[in-house]
């Protein structure tokens, strides 16, 4: 019998969502994505935030796996980390899969049939990224 419980986040997912919960960190990540990379000193020069605070934010983003850094001489240069997106898309996939399970069970309940998740797949309307669609191994059986 399937457990119809709430999807609980992994520690990794939690770190990502908590990292993104701060608008300054979202702003820093936005700049990094637009510019390709950045340094704490570079951001401090043009944002009304102290370099110290920026470093804290960048470290949080790094610990969440949203950015990576490399030492270039005296500076740490940060850049977006491509794998970060999969943490989010995987989370959305998990929620979606759970809804599919629930709706299949609803159908079974209403038709008083044994649960047949493969034959009772609801139609999908989720917008997914191209990246996700290309790499998605669980193709919808439409």
């Amino acid at each position: 019998m399937e457990r119809r419980n709430k999807q609980v986040m992994t520690d990794e997912q939690q770190r990502v969502f908590l990292a993104l919960a701060d608008p300054t960190r979202r702003l820093l990540l936005k700049h990094l994505c637009e510019e390709g990379s950045g340094t704490a000193a570079g951001f401090a020069a043009r944002l009304p935030i102290t370099r110290q605070a920026i470093i804290k934010h960048l470290v949080t983003l790094e610990q969440a796996g949203l950015v990576t850094a490399r030492e270039t001489g005296r500076e740490r240069r940060y850049m977006p980390r491509p794998e970060a997106l999969s943490t989010i898309t995987n989370w959305i996939e998990e929620i979606s899969a759970q809804w599919d399970q629930r709706l299949a069970a609803l159908r079974s309940l209403l038709l008083e049939e044994p649960s047949q998740p493969d034959t009772a797949r609801p139609e999908e309307h989720t917008t997914m990224t191209e990246h996700q669609e290309r790499t998605n191994e669980h193709d919808s059986d439409n």
């Binding site: 159908r107 309940l109 309307h125």
Partner: protein, 152 residues
């Protein structure tokens, strides 16, 4: 393509509307497909208490819409974020929106969960927070655009 803040599913159920309505609003039936609702105050604004994995969820959901046999919607805590400073007021929620449409073939059910990109409200620290209404959607679409620009 962009990251969507919502999940939508539809299903045609070859049974009358009344039966589907009962299945989505009565706790004893919800338990059979959705999950355990240990408490429900069935009115707009009423609380829904969920229990999962034999543990009572620390935060109740809230019923947002009741239009008999047509529309049922509730908010619930979007994820179990274990941060010591999050409270009921700051934990993000998603909206689960179920609409029923009577058709000759039965009942057409549409389910939308939205607000998946919702974030915890500002966690009080020594830093100053600005407007936090945006979810992570715009931010991650920026990341997505960056990644796509790299795939040349």
């Amino acid at each position: 393509m962009t990251l969507s803040d919502r999940i939508e599913r539809t299903m045609l159920l070859p049974v009358p509307c009344e039966r589907v309505w009962d299945a989505v609003t009565k706790p004893e039936q919800l338990a059979r497909w959705f999950g355990v609702v240990s408490d429900m105050d069935f009115r707009v604004g009423g609380a829904i208490q969920f229990t999962w994995e034999n543990e009572r969820c620390p935060y109740p959901g809230r019923i947002e819409v009741i239009e008999p046999k047509q529309h049922f919607a509730f908010r619930w805590p979007s994820y179990a974020v274990s941060h010591p400073k999050l409270t009921f007021a700051t934990v993000p929620s998603t909206l689960v929106d179920i609409t029923l449409e009577e058709r000759p073939e039965g009942t057409f059910l549409t389910l939308v969960e939205s607000g998946i990109a919702s974030l915890p409200q500002p966690i009080p620290t020594e830093e100053v927070y600005r407007d936090n209404k945006d979810g992570w959607q715009a931010c991650l679409n920026g990341l997505l655009a960056y990644l796509q620009s790299q795939e040349v």
